[in-house]
């Protein structure tokens, strides 16, 4: 039984321990602030420089040697198209790989290699992907410096992110749902297509968006495959123009993207281009922000209908 003296000692220990608790809570908040403040400063800095430059013209003009006429039309269209290719390539591939590893893969050395390999791919520097893409897509497959090459390069880059996100969200589905489905007589594929994919779609989508948010700002690999910097026309619209463009002609079109445009502008001598770069950077960060916002929205609202 505790004596009064013991109780006093224990109280002293508790008080001391709680002081550390408080200290750490403050430390944690401060650390969080480092991240948050850096982002805020960065964002404000860019906004202050760039926002006054934003106008409708900035979005509808092609690049120009005159900073005040220069716009990001080809860049944002290029970015969106490249992202489209990236998503179209990476999502099916990544989701299929994730599903295989979670639902089908037997536990053997082949699976082990694939697993190590995927976590390894996630750590390969983006510039190395650029080198690969240059050799493989641009030359070996002969896609040239096209939207297709760029999209595929970024797809490779975000493939591990999507695979991991897919696996994580599949793992979040309780085993009891799997068993419930199999117990109804469903085949593996029926289980996957009727349950696994629908229920994990929110998580997969979040992963895709986070991956895309990373890809959208990538400069180095796109530079190595040779994105253009001056391009004053848009890729052909499907079936438009004369002679009519094919459905997919645009994927072989030359292109530029936002980060490349920024990169080019920051290296120009005229100060006015720096402002353009800041404005483009602002638009780019805003796009990322919007994508992240979308991810959060999806996380909340798609999961609303999923309860176990």
């Amino acid at each position: 039984m505790l004596k009064a003296a013991d109780l006093g000692a224990i109280r002293a220990i508790i008080t001391r321990a709680k002081r550390w608790d408080l200290f750490f809570a403050v430390l944690g908040l401060l650390s969080l602030m480092v991240g948050v403040l850096t982002f805020t400063v960065l964002f404000l800095d860019m906004a202050i420089q760039g926002v006054p430059r934003l106008s409708l013209d900035f979005f509808t003009n092609f690049p120009s040697r005159r900073a005040e006429n220069a716009g990001i039309l080809s860049a944002w269209v290029g970015t969106i198209l490249v992202m489209l290719v990236t998503a179209l390539a990476a999502v099916p591939l990544g989701v299929a790989a994730g599903v295989y590893l979670e639902e089908y893969a037997p536990k053997n050395w082949i699976t082990d290699i694939i697993e190590i390999n995927i976590s390894n791919l996630a750590g390969i520097p983006s510039i190395v992907y650029g080198l690969l893409a240059l050799g493989l897509f641009v030359y070996y497959f002969g896609f040239g410096q096209s939207i297709l090459s760029a999209g595929l390069t970024l797809a490779l880059l975000i493939l591990p992110v999507i695979i991991v996100a897919t696996r994580e969200s599949i793992r979040a589905i309780p085993q009891s749902i799997h068993e419930g489905s199999y117990a109804c007589g469903a085949t593996t594929w029926q289980t996957v297509s009727d349950h696994i994919l629908p229920y994990s779609s929110a998580g997969i989508l979040t992963g895709v968006i986070i991956g895309m948010a990373r890809a959208i700002g990538e400069t180095a690999p796109i530079i190595t495959i040779g994105a253009l910097t001056f391009i004053a026309f848009l890729p052909p619209m499907p079936f438009a123009g004369d002679p009519a463009a094919g459905m997919f002609e645009w994927i072989f079109a030359p292109f530029t993207v936002m980060p490349i445009q920024m990169f080019n502008w920051t290296s120009r001598p005229e100060a006015a281009f720096t402002v353009n770069a800041a404005a483009a950077g602002f638009v780019l960060v805003f796009m990322t922000l919007a994508m992240n916002g979308l991810a959060i929205y999806l996380r909340y609202h798609l999961r609303k209908n999923i309860k176990w």
């Binding site: 944690g28 960065l42 800095d45 099916p92 390894n120 695979i163 180095a220």
Partner: protein
Amino acid sequence: MTASASLKLPVPTGVSDRLKRKLSRNLKERVIESILFAAAAFSVFVTIAIVWVLVKESWAFFEHVPVTDFLFDTQWTPLFDDAHYGIMVLLSGTLTSSGVALVVAIPLGTIIAIYLSEFAGFKLREIAKPFLELLGGVPTIVYGYFALTFLTPILQKIYPDLPGFNLLSAGLVMGVMIIPYVASLSEDAMRAVPMSLREGSYAMGATRLQTALWVVTPAATSGIASAYILGISRAVGETMILAVAAGMQPNLTFNPAEPGATITSYIVQVALGDLPHGSIGYQTIFAAGLTLLLMTLAFNLLGYWLRKRFREVY
């Protein structure tokens, strides 16, 4: 029919039609499985392709430059008249800048992870995490200029001898950029630790901090290790921040207050430069790329080993 009688019978070997495997269904399942397997195996193909491209080009390089020079020379001047190919020089830049970045990212990332998972309320966590992830989504070139034009001048006020280009400020900014990777993944790992362990600790009279440091963190070791490894890989592979802010001066130093070049910044530099392709100077980027690949490979294998070794035991 009596149970005891029937139970002595052997198990029949025939299979009734209604229970037999259905060929068409099996075939469809097999085809789908093969397609999915191909998707998973594709990642292996990508790795092989990367290695193939890098090795093919480096091969020509190593025909001209002995591997020993590459590994042990203390100068990196491949594009100069008096060419030296000591990868150590670039490696030192890479290691120093990554070191600085990790000194920022690992403690801050871990503290943030612990804070979010063990201290912060649900609301704060749900707001803070996506916000942190934004830090990972900012184009790195923006960070580069931030380091050069914002952070370096501030650092120079504190430390006047600091050159305008240095590994320090690039490394610090890189560290901030990596925080979300470390924090977010570590936090996931910590939240995966079952509540029962936390309850066990609190039931002993532990405080939040004691629970976090003595129970949750050790239980999440393997997840945290993966987060660190990913952070390290990111730091080692980061390109644009260093290309802009670190000075691109091949410099065999481990002093972050000096300018330096890293493997990645060297690769973009040359990829954009005026060198003739196929020249030795140009092939250096593949040799450098291969070095980088081997490095990240080593880190990731280490991570894999750590995960196996410290697999969560709860």
